[in-house]
Subunit: 123 residues, 2 copies
DNA sequence: TTTAAAATGAGAATAGTTATCAAGTTCGAG
DNA sequence: CTCGAACTTGATAACTATTCTCATTTTAAA
């Protein structure tokens, strides 16, 4: 992967926004300071960075993918009322892969957990 | 919800196909025997049935939603090679909701786990 | 039987994302 | 340094999955 100013902007902006933004949300944030970054470039870079393991794509939340600069294993909670996304620590399901591999005999390479409910402010 | 022949076909066909089909896959299956069921009706009925809790929509697999006639709590595994979807029993993460609620103070109403890897035949 | 609510088919519309392609940029070999 | 191949970009077209629109048909309860 070669250096590009646009990719740097995408990654830096994602790092500064702990809100697990969607591509569109990130685009609107980036537009304010860096209107030279096009939407195609944003989507391309998000894919590439996720592919390279530098960021993480979160599927299973609403219709659109969210992105996370934190690539350490952890889970997500989305509030049904305010729509905010929160992190849940790995600890809540620490041996889940081992158990699932034992049960099935499959090789598990990754897994995600998404919780839905009401956050502290909304409940 | 009133009775409709089309809805009956959608539900019955889903029940007979344990493969967790996408809407498009289900459409192609239904088309063979019941070409009178339109795509709009299929999507509408899948939404309604899921809304009513009669079937379950599975998000977070590929780009498109899959549907499951089994509404009991369980998880899913998708094979990275053959694309097949398998069930994983609830037992692999039995106290995950309780732990997550304790950790966060949030009210959790539902959760999903998706595993990725290689199934027994593909590994 | 009447009738209001619900459901339908066909296709238009939308949202999110990916593909195309010509032009500009990066970077390592010479 | 400088040249070229590979990489990246912006603009926009295309695509996919899904939802919406609306005139027509079906359901079901009085």
């Amino acid at each position: 992967m070669n250096y590009s100013r646009q990719r740097e902007v995408v990654l830096d902006t994602l790092k500064q926004n702990v809100i697990h933004p969607t591509a569109e949300k990130l685009y609107s944030i980036i537009q304010i300071e860096y209107p030279e970054v096009s939407k195609a470039t944003l989507y391309r870079n998000l894919s590439q960075l996720a592919e390279a393991g530098i960021i993480k794509k979160i599927d299973g939340l609403e219709n659109s993918a969210h992105f996370d600069h934190n690539t350490c294993l952890h889970y997500h909670f989305i509030c049904e009322k305010c729509g905010k996304v929160f992190d849940i620590s790995e600890g809540v399901a620490h041996d889940v892969v081992q158990k699932a591999e034992q049960e099935t005999g499959f090789k598990i390479n990754s897994h995600e957990i998404v919780f839905h409910g009401l956050c502290r402010d909304c409940k």
